[in-house]
């Protein structure tokens, strides 16, 4: 019985956590809008660029207050939030975005695709390499050559020249 109560109160705390976060966000935004208006050149609120952010943050404030007072009704267990794969894929994606300017689109994408496929359970090394390379080149040709979208090029001359030659 005690254990169940403890569980329920934990769920309530979690729900309150979300509401508290939105409450804090709304207060910060309301304060930001108010003080930015006062310190600006705007004479009337009607013309102020901070009127709408202030209104939106006040709405958020009201909603988060109401959520805070709402009793947690759901007692269902939530699925585990993070898995190893999730963390790995997230890290891979952020690293890819960071490495794009350094390696250029073709090589960064090949590496990204390869590591993603391996992490998701692709066991065939050769297939993973060939597929990653093929996809990167096809995407490069579609976006850069067909639609003239300038994709990131490598800051390293050697890699860029190699990619240009290959394409």
């Amino acid at each position: 019985m005690n254990g169940e109560n403890e569980k329920n109160s934990r769920i309530k705390c979690k729900k309150a956590g979300g509401a508290l976060l939105f409450l804090a966000l709304s207060l910060v935004l309301a304060g930001y809008s108010f003080f930015s208006h006062i310190s600006g050149i705007y004479k009337q609120w009607a013309l102020s660029p901070y009127l709408f952010p202030l209104l939106a943050s006040l709405c958020l404030f009201g909603l988060s207050l109401s959520m805070l007072f709402e009793k947690a009704q759901s007692k269902k267990k939530t699925a585990p939030f993070l898995s190893k794969r999730f963390v790995y894929v997230s890290l891979c994606s952020v690293s890819y975005a960071l490495c794009l300017p350094l390696f250029g689109f073709v090589f960064a994408s090949t590496l990204y695709l390869f590591f993603m496929m391996r992490s998701l359970g692709e066991k065939r090394w050769l297939f993973a390499i060939a597929f990653s390379l093929l996809c990167s080149f096809v995407l490069y040709i579609v976006f850069a050559k067909l639609f003239y979208i300038s994709l990131p090029v490598s800051e390293l001359d050697v890699l860029q020249k190699l990619a240009d030659r290959l394409i």
Binding site: G18, F22, S26, L29, Y32, S36, G40, Y42, A46, L47, S48, P49, Y50, L51, F52, P53, A56, S57, C59, L60, L63, S64, S66, M67, E70, T78, A79, P80, F81, L82, S83, R85, F86, V89, S90, S93, V94, Y96, A97, L100, P101, S109, Y112, L113, M116, M117, L120, G121, E122, F131, C135, L139, V142, F143, F147, Y148, I149, S150, L151, P152
Partner: protein, 492 residues
């Protein structure tokens, strides 16, 4: 009668048919690849068609436009990345249908009702252009605010289990839409000194992050981390498809009206139509948001009907209804065709050509949608260990190609993580995108309306006492009351 013959004679011109076909085929692929927009494709085509004759250029561009608007639904249904913001609503029911092994059915519905939507739009353009353009012109700042609020009031229909969470999502979207340079004073707002944010948060990176990237993270987290593929299922039966036709006329009217309003656009039309569908169909076999065909019907009819609607103010007032018609306007200018009130008198042949190209493109849309797009549904059979990395890279590439900025890739990733956390806590994502689309429009028009009203002697009179404003106000109040009622029912 002469007008009908003028339109029909274009169908006998092989060159015309081939140009519309080529445009339509390009539109199919451009719309289906996340990050490549119809606007981008028409702008590219514009550069290719400088030296062409006006008719040829218009034929190809109409092909891209009509089919491109439909094909955004393909990626929305199959890989849960809407090809364009207007396909987001299609995704709400299309993606669950695909996950249940009914992808081909979902695509069939999207194709048929995009076809009907385009037909409604083109017919409206043909028959009602003049009165419609007058109506569009009489919309003032406050009317846009009320229309946007009416759009946001549809949040009840998009919120799933909790309206409050839907409203929180709306507030967050509105706040995020304020980021960037203010449209009246040019003051950077909520940018916190980050220069790259001065241009605001792009809809495309946000959309791709919230729906595409967060879906990858979601399918890898916790109990949903299985990597099985899904079957694409059978096509929908014609009898099932036709059953929705009467209501699609109503969604088509919404699409045409919203499309005719400059700046409003297809996303608002599809959200409004979806909200209306929820009101019209009170007890669907499958609930909305879980794979009901009515959701796809409403969204696709409305967003394709917008095409005809958006062409009305462009042709008769020289005011583009959306980004693509803005590009089309430049095609007209390049070829010395001046849109305006006397367009029909001066350039009757160009008008009939646009109608013919739109109608023909809608036929190609249907053919591609029924015979080519289902082949794309085979993508669902690809094992997820291969499909997910591809979706991830398309998400990253789509975010980048929206404005060729690395910053947008990081914005997309941030929205991806935010979308993941929100989904885990049952916060709906669609209201956030709706607010992000409408926020800028609301902010600028709200301040403009206040400014005008303050200059007048009777503040409230100036704000609200106009027939269109009052009608919109009544609709808005009605919609809010309904939402409050359903909110109370949920609480019980």
């Amino acid at each position: 009668m002469d007008g009908i013959l003028q339109v029909l004679q274009h169908f006998l011109d092989i060159k015309f048919v081939l140009l519309v076909f080529a445009g339509a085929l390009a539109g199919l692929f451009v719309g289906a690849i996340p990050g490549l927009s119809v606007t981008m494709a028409t702008a590219l085509l514009l550069s290719l068609t400088y030296s062409w004759q006006a008719g040829d250029a218009l034929a190809a561009i109409m092909g891209v436009y009509v089919v491109g608007v439909f094909s955004g639904a393909i990626s929305a249904i199959l890989i849960r990345i809407p090809g364009a913001p207007s396909s987001l609503v299609t995704m709400l029911d299309g993606s669950p249908m695909a996950q249940k092994g009914r992808a081909r059915q979902a695509i069939s519905y999207a194709a048929w009702y995009s076809f009907f939507g385009t037909l409604f739009g083109m017919l409206a353009l043909w028959l009602l252009a003049k009165p419609m353009s007058g109506l569009a012109l009489s919309f003032q700042a406050m009317d846009y605010v009320l229309l946007s609020l009416f759009g946001l009031s549809m949040v009840g229909g998009l919120s799933g289990k909790s309206i409050k969470k839907g409203l929180v999502s709306v507030c967050l979207g509105l706040i995020l839409s304020m980021v960037g340079m203010d449209s009246v004073y040019g003051t950077p707002r909520l940018t916190f000194g980050i220069e790259a944010l001065n241009g605001g948060i792009g809809i495309v990176p946000a959309l791709i992050g919230l729906f595409g990237f967060s879906e990858i993270l979601f399918s890898l987290s916790g109990e949903n981390s299985e990597t099985k593929s899904v079957h694409s299922g059978e096509k929908a039966k014609i009898s099932e498809i036709i059953r929705h036709f009467p209501r699609s006329v109503y969604y088509g009217i919404i699409g045409i009206l919203v499309g005719a309003l400059p700046g409003a656009g297809a996303p608002i039309a599809s959200f409004l139509a979806y909200g209306s569908a929820k009101r019209l169909v009170k007890s669907p076999k499958i609930p909305f948001g879980e794979g009901t065909a009515e959701g796809i019907v409403a969204s696709e009819t409305a967003n394709n009907a917008c095409i005809g609607g958006a062409l009305i103010p462009m042709l008769f007032l020289a005011v583009p209804g959306d980004a693509v018609t803005a590009v089309l306007l430049s095609v007209f200018r390049i070829h010395n065709l001046n849109p305006g009130p006397s367009f029909l008198k001066l350039h009757a042949s160009a008008f009939s050509l646009i109608i013919a190209a739109g109608l023909l493109a809608s036929v190609f849309l249907l053919l591609f949608g029924l015979f080519l797009a289902p082949k794309m549904a085979r993508v669902l059979r690809v094992p997820k260990r291969i499909l997910l990395p591809l979706v991830a890279i398309l998400s990253l590439l789509g975010a980048f190609s929206a404005s060729s900025r690395m910053f947008d890739v990081f914005i997309m990733l941030c929205f991806g993580f935010m979308g993941f956390v929100m989904r885990k806590h049952d916060y709906p994502l669609a209201p956030m995108i709706l607010a992000l689309v409408l926020g800028g429009l609301m902010d600028a028009n709200f301040r403009r309306a206040l400014q005008l009203a303050m200059a007048s002697e009777h503040f409230l009179h100036a704000l609200f006492i106009r027939p269109i404003t009052l009608v919109l106000l009544v609709f808005l109040i009605f919609s809010i009351v309904r939402n409050v009622k359903s909110g109370r029912q949920q609480a019980k």
